[in-house]
């Protein structure tokens, strides 16, 4: 079976820039696989997601999503909720675009809201919710259409550490439970190791994939179990060493 997402030699250079953001990215994400893209800030990780979401075009290279009816959901670092819509209608936004109507739309929204544990908050406006709850609404909006591809751009980056680890485990349960294919962009090594089947390490600008690591912890994971696994410490420091020169380079321009 071929991979669901395939990027081959993707180059992206924005007009007016002297060097490309992405200098030939090739990657594959298999069906039901959860891949983390990790790298220093500014390395073009988010650009990869923006390309997959169809928000920007590649300069050269090819990009394929091998599913004619693929539904793509994108969860951003900030919730990006519509302030004038209540929680329910924000979740329904993705369903409206997917032409889900009437009772089916209402049911799907309710199910997604329940999945992120926000039942009872349907009739609140975003500003009445905490940052963590807002991000859960954004996640529910992404999940409501039962996406075949879930793009996650540091989705918990703006949350406090406790909320973040709670949401990471929640997300893990949801993605594993539904067999969703996901590409996660992060700069958090622990997040990558908790969630992903594979971790791709990106170099600083211009972005390339410089290392690939298969995460050996199986699919049933929890942060507590990982922290007691000596292998976890070893892989964690391996990733740190891979990333350190990239961060230094990024800092020194």
């Amino acid at each position: 079976m071929s991979a669901l997402i395939e990027l081959e030699g993707v180059v992206k250079q924005f007009p007016g820039d002297t060097e490309p953001v992405l200098a030939g990215i090739s990657l594959e994400v298999g069906r039901g696989e959860l891949v983390a893209l990790i790298g220093p800030s500014g390395c073009g990780k988010s650009t990869v997601l923006n390309i997959l979401a169809g928000l920007i075009r590649v300069t050269s290279g090819t990009l394929r999503i091998n599913d004619r009816d693929a539904r793509v959901s994108y969860v951003f670092q900030r919730p990006r909720l519509l302030p004038w819509r209540k929680v329910r209608r924000n979740v329904e936004f993705s369903l409206e675009q997917a032409d889900v109507t009437g009772a089916a739309r209402r049911r799907a929204a309710e199910a997604a809201i329940e999945r992120v544990n926000l039942t009872g908050h349907e009739d609140k406006y975003p500003h009445q919710l905490s940052g963590g709850m807002q991000q859960r609404v954004a996640l529910a909006r992404g999940l409501a259409i039962e996406p075949s591809v879930l793009l996650l751009d540091e989705p918990f980056g703006a949350l406090d550490a406790l909320t973040r680890s709670y949401m990471q485990e929640e997300l893990l349960g949801i993605v594993r439970g539904t067999g969703t294919t996901a590409l996660l962009v992060t700069h958090d090594i622990d997040e990558a190791l908790l969630l992903a089947d594979r971790v791709l390490v990106m170099s600083s600008r211009p972005g390339r994939i410089k290392h690939e690591l298969r995460v050996p912890f199986g699919t049933e994971r929890s942060l507590d179990a990982l922290l007691q696994d000596p292998e976890y410490g070893r892989i964690r420091s391996e990733l740190r060493h891979l990333l350190r020169p990239e961060v230094v380079e990024e800092l020194n321009g």
Binding site: R80, L82, P83, F93
Partner: protein, 278 residues
Amino acid sequence: MVDELRTRVTARRGGASHRRRALRLSPRLLVRLLLFLTAIGVLFLAWVLGSHHYPDYILPGPQPVWDSFTSMLDRGVWARQVEATLGHMFTAYGITIGIGLPLGILIGRFWVVEDLSRALLIFLQTVPTIVLIVLALIFVGTTATGVIAVTVASCLPYFTLNVIQGTKSIDRDLIDMARSYRAGELTIMRSIIVPSVVPYFLAGGRITLGVAWQVTLFGEYLMGTPGIGFQVSAAIKLLDTPSVYAWGLSVVGLTIAFEYGVFRPVEAVLTRHMRRAE
């Protein structure tokens, strides 16, 4: 003044405890309300005292002004003229919004439209109203159409500029979010751009309404079109100063009535998602 009070109270309200805080504020609010009423009282007193020193055709006291008002009311003149003026004004206001809202959004979204319309907007913003009135007299004569046309021409830049500003300040991230779900231009317009523009639409609507009042009355006055403006012009020619005062105060009253009877309720509905409710 009352506006300012409201803004200050809103600004002080911080999240969860605003209800309690608002209550704690209320004695202060009461004092400020009393000061406001005192100021009205002082103005009224000054009017009464001043009117003793001047003949009625210069500064009539409250009694002759009131008499003039009730007489106009009894004869049905008041209702007829107010109806005519409001007809001119709201027709112009409606046309202004009907043109200005889509125009402002298009200008804010597409630079080609912006450059094409720039000359017209600058012209309308800078040309003296008096010239517009003369032009309207030449082209359409002393009809309601003339007054409406002049009012629209004067109001359009104020309203449109606000909508343009609103369109340009839209959160690009929301548009990208919508695009990532494959939303079309129409959906983006309806679900993101129009709601984003609402606060600017309201601000522009308020300024524009003030301009619309002024220009409509000015137009009626100079073009001799039935309405409050024309009544004022006729009253002055007859040295019927109490009527002038009565009309002036009527407009003040109508403006306040519209602000609290229509504008604020509409505003409350359109910005309900912005209120810090529990």
